[in-house]
C-alpha cells in the first residue's frame, strides 16, 4: 500500500474531535478510585474508633497533608507523562515538596532518637498493617488511572507506570490515615513513604505491560 493512498483514506471525512483534557479525566478516575478504596477500607480494617477525638485530629490531618503533597507532585508529573512526548520535560522539580516533607520527618525522628535513646523503628504498633494496607488500597485507584492512560497514548511507559503507582499509593496512604493508629511523625514518614515508594516501583514494573498501545 502506498503512503499517498493511505493518507487519502485517513483524510476522507475527517471527524472533528474534542480535545481531550487529560487532567480532568485523570482527576475523575482518581476520585472514583479513591471512593472505591475508601469503601474497601471501611469494609476491611475500618476507621480508627477514636478518629474524631480532639487529640487525633492534628495527626490525621498531618498524614493527609503528607499524602496530598505526594499526590499533587505525582499528579502533575503524570499529567505530563500521559501524552506523547511528556517525558521530555524535567519532572524532578515537581518532587521538591516531597523531599522537603521527608527531610522534616527524618529530622523529627532523629531528634526523637537522640533525646530518648530508643531505636526509632520501634515507634508504632502496626508497621506491617501500614505497609500492606497502603498498597492494597492503592489497587483500585491504580486500575482507574491505567484505564485512562491506555487512551491517552503515553510514550514513556515505565515512568508513566511509576507515576500512576505513586499517585495511587498516595491515595492509598490518605485512605489508610483514617485507620492508622500510629501518630508518630517519624513512623508516618518512613512507613507511609516506603509504602508509596513500593507502589511506584510496582507501577514502573508492570506499567510497560499494561500501558502498551
Amino acid at each position: 500500500m502506498k503512503t499517498r493512498q493511505f493518507i487519502d483514506v485517513l483524510s476522507t471525512n475527517v471527524e472533528p474531535v474534542k480535545i481531550a483534557i487529560v487532567w480532568k479525566t485523570l482527576a475523575l478516575a482518581l476520585l472514583l478510585g479513591a471512593i472505591g478504596a475508601f469503601c474497601l477500607m471501611l469494609a476491611t480494617v475500618g476507621q480508627r474508633p477514636d478518629l474524631a477525638a480532639p487529640g487525633h485530629v492534628v495527626p490525621v490531618a498531618l498524614k493527609l497533608a503528607f499524602a496530598l503533597i505526594v499526590m499533587i507532585s505525582a499528579g502533575v508529573a503524570l499529567v505530563r507523562l500521559a501524552n506523547p512526548g511528556g517525558e521530555r520535560l524535567k519532572l524532578g522539580p515537581y518532587f521538591l515538596p516531597v523531599l522537603l516533607v521527608l527531610a522534616i520527618g527524618g529530622a523529627i525522628g532523629l531528634d526523637f532518637a537522640i533525646s530518648t535513646a530508643r531505636p526509632v523503628f520501634l515507634i508504632g504498633t502496626q508497621t506491617w498493617m501500614c505497609i500492606s494496607c497502603i498498597p492494597l488500597f492503592a489497587i483500585i485507584p491504580f486500575g482507574a488511572l491505567i484505564f485512562v492512560l491506555r487512551k491517552t497514548a503515553p510514550t514513556d511507559l515505565r515512568r508513566a507506570g511509576a507515576m500512576a503507582g505513586l499517585l495511587a499509593g498516595a491515595v492509598g496512604a490518605a485512605i489508610y490515615a483514617f485507620h492508622c493508629p500510629d501518630d508518630s511523625p517519624f513512623f508516618v514518614t518512613v512507613w507511609y513513604g516506603s509504602a508509596m515508594a513500593f507502589c511506584a516501583l510496582i507501577g514502573a514494573l508492570i506499567g510497560p505491560r499494561l500501558l502498551r498501545w
Binding site: T3, F6, S11, V14
Partner: protein, 172 residues
Amino acid sequence: MMASQAGDAAAHRKLLEQLSGHLRGYFKRRLVHGDSEQAEDLVQETLLAIHTNRQNYNPAQLLTPWAYAIARYRLIDYLRKTKSSMANVPLEEAEEVMAHDDQVEVESAFDLDKLMSRLPSKAQQAIRYVKLDGLTVTEAAARTGMSESAIKVSIHRGLKALTAMMGQEKKS
C-alpha cells in the same frame, strides 16, 4: 493540526503529507538494516497512530516533538519485536526538524484489504463506506442501519485495531 482536530479534511491531508516526509527521513536514518519498505511500514503505522490520537494533542504544545514522540514509540516497539541490535534512539534528536525528505513512492508491506478483513464486520463496513467510498456518516448510517454515533465509534475502534495489527504483522 488544530484544523485537523476541527475536522478540516484538506488541512488534515496536508498535515499528514508533510509529516510523512519527515517521518520517512526519521525512520530511514535509524533503521540500520532496514530497507525502504520497512521504513514505509513505520511511516504508515505512525500516521495512523497520529490520526487516531489527534484528540490527545494539546494545541498549546509544539506539534513536532509530539509527532516524533509517537514515531519514536513506534520505532522502539518495532525494534523490540524484531530484536534488532539498533537500539540507540536518543530522544533529543526528536526535536530537530528533519531536512532530509525524499518523496519517492515506496510501497509498504501492508495490504489494506487483508488487514481490514480481520476487523469486526461493523468496523469494516463503517470504514469502507466512510473512509474508502467517501460517503458521509449520515449516508453510511442509512445504508448500514447503524446509528451515526455507532458509525463514528466503529471507525475509531477499527482504526485503533488496525494500528495494533500493523504493529503485530511485522513480528512475523
